[in-house]
Amino acid sequence: MTTVLSIEKLSVDFELGTETVHAVRDVSLDLAEGETLAIVGESGSGKTATALSILQLNPVPPAVYRSGTIRFGAHDLLALPEARLRAIRGNDIAMIFQDPMTSLNPLKKVGRQIGETLQLHRDVSRRDTRSAVVEALAQAGVPRPDERAEQYPHELSGGLRQRAMIAMALVTRPKVLIADEPTTALDVTVQAQILELLVQLQDRHGMAIVLITHDLGVVADVADRIAVMRSGEIVEEQPCEPLFAAPQHEYTRSLLAATPRLAGASEGA
């Protein structure tokens, strides 16, 4: 399989006043076409900082990209000027965020926000945008998509909003989807539906997914490979099944032990 995204020796610092936090230390990761790579770790382990670095969305300041390369196709994303990067954001690489309650602009209709992505990157007419938005919502499993497109974010439930976010990310058919804790803010039943939806859409469009989560239960069902992060470093990286069956690193073992549901899952795996 070909590699679509390759992070090499990435280091990111946060300079907070006199203190410097090494949020990401020497992280290297490869993402193959169509695969799902999970980055797991506790809060503050650097997993989100790593994910945001791919599109350089960490707030600068305080973030400083110290060293490393992020290869995407022929480009090093870290070296690209802002204007070129903008052409990749949302077009080739898309993101969805943790909290669907705050990720949508409260003052704009859902459909217009999804359409904005498409109009930024494609030369499309208003009517084509409209039909693409409705189709994206339908694919994201939103019932009555044409009506939902005309509603404001506060009129949608949390699960529907996350589906709208997914529609927004996927309307341009990106090659890579970065999902930063996409299910954390949702009910358990809705979580399962959203994950299933992501797997379905991946099968249909063949995109690669970087899934960031602290929930190993989420990972077990969908990930091909897992990277475990702690204090900004990757402590272990393995395909899903061996990692659950025989974790190499002590930290991974304690993570697994801390998840009661997974005791059964790892025996079954």
Partner: protein, 296 residues
């Protein structure tokens, strides 16, 4: 202007609806709004309402008392040159509203731009713009207005521009602090993540979210600009003297306050009631659009 609330209420109403309903329930707010509507109509229809030419002098009828207080056919009496006070009051409302609204709009545009840029980009630009605001704030604005008018001469547009240039600080500060918190919200990061440029984010995602505080400050600013214009006119540095304004009427009337009180009292009353009504309206808009204010 559309009152916009970011309250995520669960009833199926748009934010504008919710704010409008809250505004209607505010009794004093509605009284003030109606008063202002009457003022605007008066200013617009001044030639139809005023019974006399506001500039026509009639020295035979000088210092005539109001018709209901003495022997006269002038509703609010005449001034020292025999000009009809009511007609001058009606025409004066045009200047007051024009200066107030234009100066507030100019100040609002400058303040919003400064606040959005300072808040969004932060860093050195923020520091420079905010220190500029501090300097502006430390300088008495009426003194600055006096200096400029004394230097450039008086004129309606000069007064508007001067008042606009001195009033932007409060907008800039409020908008900046709103933007500083807004820009960390996920929907702004999300907008960046789909490839939206900085200026487009400012225009399409941040600006609509600061309209409510902008509108609130604008109303209060209209009132202070009207008072400031009157103060300049009172000092003879406002609009040219042949145009009737409330401030110049006050100035004319002060010499006759002991004998012909009506010359100064009525423009003073108009000034006070108008700025009071605008302030109440501003408070009502703030209450209606602020989700943190308790609603009965």
């Amino acid at each position: 202007m559309a009152g916009i609330s970011i309250a995520a209420s669960q009833d199926a109403q748009t934010p504008t609806h919710t704010a409008w309903r809250a505004l209607r329930q505010n009794r004093w707010g509605m009284v003030a709004v109606v008063f202002l509507a009457v003022m605007v109509l008066t200013a617009a229809l001044a030639p139809l309402i005023a019974p006399h030419d506001p500039q026509a002098q009639n020295l035979l009828e000088r210092l005539a008392p109001p018709s209901w207080a003495g022997d006269s056919d002038h509703l609010l009496g005449t001034d020292h040159l025999g000009r009809d006070v009511f007609s001058r009051l009606v025409f004066g409302s045009r200047i007051s509203l024009l200066v107030g609204v234009s100066a507030a709009m100019l100040a609002g545009v400058i303040g919003a731009v400064v606040g959005l840029l300072a808040g969004y980009y932060g860093g050195r630009l923020d520091w420079i713009l905010m220190r500029l605001a501090d300097v502006q704030l430390a300088f008495p604005s009426i003194l600055l207005a006096l200096a400029v008018v004394a230097f450039l001469g008086s004129g309606l547009w000069i007064v508007i521009v001067v008042l606009g240039l001195t009033g932007w600080v409060s907008y800039a500060r409020v908008v900046r602090s709103e933007v500083v918190s807004l820009k960390t919200r996920d929907f702004v990061t999300e907008a960046r993540a789909i490839g939206v440029g900085n200026l487009t984010i400012i225009r399409r995602h941040l600006l609509p979210n600061v309209v409510a505080p902008l509108a609130t400050i604008a109303t209060l600013n209209v009132a202070s600009a009207i008072v400031a214009e009157s103060a300049l006119s009172f000092l003879g540095l406002g609009v040219p003297t042949h145009i009737p304004t409330w401030g110049s009427m006050l100035a004319d009337g002060q010499l006759y306050l002991g004998t012909s009180w009506w010359i100064a009292i009525f423009p003073g009353l108009a000034l006070m009631l108008t700025s009071l009504a605008i302030n109440i309206t501003g408070d009502a808009i703030r209450d209606a659009t602020d989700p943190k204010v308790y609603r009965r």
